[in-house]
């Protein structure tokens, strides 16, 4: 079972549970999805419910909004976050505002899925991590499944949610293999989770960098440093209670975020720690983010631009040793 299979299973499950659910997007049908997530669904559910769209992001995302207003439960797939910018008007000016502008009359039960993230040498226009940027917008919810359980379980609660939910699937995770319980099903989407317990420092992360953080934690454990690793899972609304509670115990915090540093999600987390846990800290909050460059193509440069395990290890070690 891969992350890709888990997502496919969640879509299949949703289509079976509710006949108002349908999927539309570019190449989701005959092609099977650009990441092969939706392979086989057209054959199983037919053209009415698995809809190939033209290369018209604004039209089909907006059509998802309209269809949700009209009583359906659409799942719209945008190939990658980069293309979502062509539909930003619909996401930001319509999906996020209509409930409010209508004084609560019209909610939009829409799910938009898209691939995000870098690390595959696909250069500057195909490597964005803009989920933190979307998390800036009130009126939408942002989910970032990192595990097989969340890949399998987040879609159904997102569909049941009365408001627009954006799900960001890291493209580097699609091939990730693992075991998933045969009865795996919906998960709650309101809380962050502690993926590894520790006493010396708290790493706050999500998505693909969860796995880099866990790898770093393992390496640090060999050196006697026990870090707690928190998977945010949902970026808006942000469950800060979970990481604030952790910091009360560990007194050190490191944010690992594939987004850019300036004005990003990592900055928001640092601000909340400073506002609500300032006196619990033994060291300034550290950040490991992507370098402030458009993603380069060459592998050695791209590697250098992304948060890596060695940087996480080094940063945590520096923090611990400076403040023993």
């Amino acid at each position: 079972m891969t992350y890709r299979d888990a997502i496919r299973e969640s879509i299949r499950d949703a289509l079976r549970r509710d006949d108002r659910v349908f999927l539309m997007g570019e190449d989701v049908g005959r092609y099977g999805g650009c990441f092969a997530v939706t392979k086989g669904l057209l054959e199983e559910f037919g053209r009415e419910r698995i809809r190939d769209t033209p290369m018209s992001e604004s039209a089909f995302v907006g059509a998802g909004i309209g269809a949700a207003l009209g009583g359906m439960r659409p799942i719209v797939e945008i190939m990658t976050v980069n293309f979502s910018l062509l539909a930003l008007d619909q996401i930001m000016n319509n999906a996020a505002t209509i409930l409010h502008m209508s004084g609560g009359q019209f909610n939009i039960p829409l799910v938009i899925r898209m691939a995000t993230g870098g690390g595959r040498q696909v250069a500057a226009q195909h490597s964005h991590s803009l989920e933190g940027w979307y998390a800036h917008i009130p009126g939408i919810k942002i989910l970032v499944p990192a595990t097989l359980e969340d890949a399998r379980g987040m879609l159904w609660p997102a569909i049941e949610d009365p408001d627009p939910v954006l799900i960001f699937e890291h493209s580097g995770l699609y091939n990730m293999k693992g075991d998933l319980a045969a009865d795996a099903g919906p998960v709650e989407i309101d809380r962050a989770r502690i993926r590894r317990a520790g006493r010396d420092a708290t790493i706050i992360t999500y998505g693909a960098t969860l796995w880099k953080s866990l790898e770093a934690a393992e390496a640090l454990a060999q050196k006697g440093i026990e870090v707690e690793v928190i998977d945010l899972r949902t970026l808006r609304p942000l469950d800060d209670a979970t990481f604030l509670e952790s910091i009360k115990r560990t007194h050190r915090a490191i944010v690992v975020d594939e987004g850019w540093r300036t004005g990003g999600l990592s900055a928001e987390i640092c601000a909340r720690v400073q506002e609500k846990a300032f006196y619990d800290l033994d060291a300034p909050v550290a950040r490991i983010c992507s370098a402030e460059v458009p993603a380069p193509y060459a592998k050695h440069l791209e590697d250098a631009s992304l948060p890596q395990v060695e940087a996480i290890v080094k940063t945590v070690e520096g923090m611990i040793h400076a403040h023993v």
Partner: protein, 314 residues
């Protein structure tokens, strides 16, 4: 044409005209703030099209939508209260002039982004099509929207999926202050729509009966399942684009020339009939303003309501 129907059309247009004139006055008196876009001169379009729609149909409009909202059946008092920013308004004062919404009449808003309503309209139509409902979504937009990418994406997708949408292009010749021929290389908008493989027709938008009859034909075609229909209504805005517009881009002579084709002046009613209509409309507007004045402000403690739904699944 049936006499009562003529009087009805006249009354609907006058309801818009007088409502807009009152709105301008209240804007000057600072009772209404923000942006205010008036529909004076274009009344025949909204009135004629709405006549062809039933309660099961949906409407998506632009930021110049007071007239559409009124003749679709949102009470004048609820629209006026909205423009006052009062919680008795049709959007609880959260939307204002550009964002009138009403669930009862399937009125899915004024949209302040040019072309931004079109994708929503095709989605509403898609939902109706998938649920086997015979409803038509009527989507209003101006000539300016035809220059937007969203317009072309939506024309194509609506035609491709044969969606039940009536696209109503209110061609008033100006995208804010830029004349059509200065903004678009090909100014025959009906020809452009038909290039997408959809039914398209142009009509005199200053003639309410012509608009009504063209709309009935178009709505019947859409409802019968033949796909979308593009109806271009050639019209003209008599007043400025918004309350901030000094109108430097067009001549007074041009405006005067179009005023000779005032849609209201083109409908023949007797003096007595006209007086009765004016009295009724004046009473409706007095009531609307009194309702808005008496309206209440939503408590500031409720500021963050309606960002997310209050009813959540268990």
């Amino acid at each position: 044409m049936n006499r009562d129907h003529t009087i009805h059309l006249m009354k609907q247009m006058l309801r818009i005209r007088r409502f807009e004139e009152k709105s301008a006055e209240l804007y000057s008196a600072s009772k209404i703030r923000g942006f205010l876009h008036l529909y004076v001169g274009e009344e025949a379009v909204a009135v004629g099209v709405m006549e062809a729609l039933g309660p099961e149909d949906a409407v998506v409009a632009t930021y110049r939508e007071h007239g559409h909202a009124l003749v679709r059946g949102i009470p004048a008092r609820s629209i006026m209260a909205e423009m006052y920013g009062k919680q008795e308004g049709c959007s609880r004062g959260r939307g204002g002039s550009m964002h009138l919404f009403d669930v009862k009449t399937r009125f899915y808003g004024g949209n302040a982004i040019v072309g931004g309503g079109l994708p929503i309209a095709i989605g509403l139509a898609l939902a109706d099509q998938m649920r086997n409902k015979a409803a038509v979504t009527s989507c209003f937009f101006g000539d300016g929207a035809v220059a937007e990418g969203e317009f072309h994406e939506c024309m194509n997708l609506a035609a491709l999926w044969k969606l039940p949408v009536l696209f109503v292009c209110e061609n008033n010749l100006y995208a804010m202050g830029t004349r059509l021929n200065l903004a678009q290389a090909m100014t025959d908008l009906t020809a452009r729509a038909s290039s997408y493989g959809m039914q398209a027709e142009a009509v005199d938008g200053m003639d309410v009966m012509a608009v009504e009859s063209a709309s009935r034909k178009a709505v019947d075609a859409v409802r019968s399942g033949t796909g979308p229909f593009f109806l271009e209504c050639k019209t003209y805005r008599f007043r400025a684009h918004s309350m901030y517009d000094p109108e430097l881009y067009r001549s007074k002579a041009e405006v005067e020339e179009w005023k000779k084709r005032d849609p209201i002046a083109q409908v023949a009613v007797t003096d007595a009939e006209r007086e009765q209509i004016e009295r009724d409309v004046a009473a409706e507007i007095v009531d609307a303003v009194a309702f808005a004045e008496a309206g209440t402000w939503e408590p500031v403690e409720e500021l963050t309501r309606f960002v997310y739904s209050e009813r959540r699944p268990a």
